[in-house]
């Protein structure tokens, strides 16, 4: 009974984002601008989402399907952003899909030639969902520039699968598809490294997260929602109301307007 409820609630929530009832798994493609998300999308789905050699190509999300080992997978190509927290329209699309669309897997496509700058975004996604795969793309270009990445070690440190790919020539995509299926079906359960905040923040997170259990049950990451409430991120609170119903949060959760946004990042 509980399970059935969870499952149907999930479908309803998803219908806000992707209308693809026949698919077994929904998979999001996220990442910094210009890392090859649309190239991965096109290679897997056979569609032709526009790609270009400059950032900011993908603004609205596109979706398409592919089959792998008897499963139908719907892939959602999200706009590229450097952050999930500064409330540009692209960021809201990406953030809301990853959080409220509850994808079975989120693939973060990163540029292997400037890995460091991509890791910030990877951590932001890992904070929302453990069902994360890092697609270490442009590995051909990294090789050409003599950049060697110990991706096994990276995988150990991050706690999520890391798959090296060169999407433009198809390298690594079979392994990516295989990892998507194994993660979506529960054969692998990543254990992403979590950021720890100072004690006073951690304590408040715990208290808020506990209060969120009756409304969110085991859906949506309560720790993450608690963090956004502590920040007073009105944009996230607006999304919570939009996707989870306005009754979910009483006024007391909305925090006074005198609370500075992003208070804990001062």
């Amino acid at each position: 009974m509980g399970l059935t409820y969870q499952r149907s609630a999930k479908r309803v929530l998803r219908a806000n984002f992707v209308n693809s009832p026949a698919s077994d798994y929904i998979v999001a493609l996220a990442g910094n601008p210009n890392t090859g998300k649309s190239t991965v999308f096109n290679a897997l789905t056979g569609l032709k989402q526009h790609t270009g050699n400059w950032p900011g190509k993908t603004v609205i999300q596109a979706y398409g399907n592919y089959r792998y080992k008897g499963k139908m997978i719907t892939l959602v190509d999200l706009p590229g952003t450097y952050s999930l927290f500064t409330n540009s329209p692209e960021e809201e699309v990406a953030r809301d899909f990853i959080c409220f669309g509850e994808p079975d897997v989120t693939i973060v496509v990163v540029d292997a030639t400037c890995l460091e700058r991509n890791l910030n975004f990877v951590l932001q996604v890992m904070e929302i969902t453990p069902k994360t795969i890092m697609c270490l793309n442009l590995i051909d270009e990294a090789r050409r520039r003599n950049i060697h990445i110990d991706y096994k070690k990276l995988q150990d440190k991050l706690g999520v699968p890391v798959i090296p790919t060169a999407a433009r020539n198809g390298e690594g995509l079979n392994q990516l598809k295989d990892t998507v299926n194994r993660l979506a079906s529960g054969l692998i359960c990543p254990n992403p490294r979590q950021l720890r905040y100072e004690d006073s923040i951690e304590k408040t997170i715990e208290e808020l997260a506990a209060e969120l259990i009756p409304t969110l049950q085991d859906r949506i990451n309560k720790r993450w929602i608690a963090l956004r409430l502590i920040e007073g991120d009105y944009s996230v609170i607006a999304s919570i109301k939009k996707y989870l119903g306005s009754s979910t949060f009483k006024e007391e959760f909305e925090y006074g307007t005198d609370t500075p946004r992003m208070g804990c990042f001062k």
Binding site: S83, F85, T86, N87, T113, R117, R261, M262, K266
Partner: protein, 80 residues
Amino acid sequence: MYTTEETTLANLPLGRRGIVKSLDAEGIIRRRLLDLGLIPGTVVEPIRKSPAGDPIAFKIRGAVIALRLEEGHRVCVRPL
């Protein structure tokens, strides 16, 4: 400009690299600058100016990112 006195990112001439010292911003703007990679210690290079001089494109940690003047002025740098 041959001085190495601290200035803002928006004041760096094209091609002159600078190292980020601090951010004069709070809240969401600070968050945005940090998430773009502008963490103290980061080396940044202005590589292109739009005709009106705003925005300016910078090379930041391997990516080319355009910042508006008002954002650029919030990043304190020491010219290298």
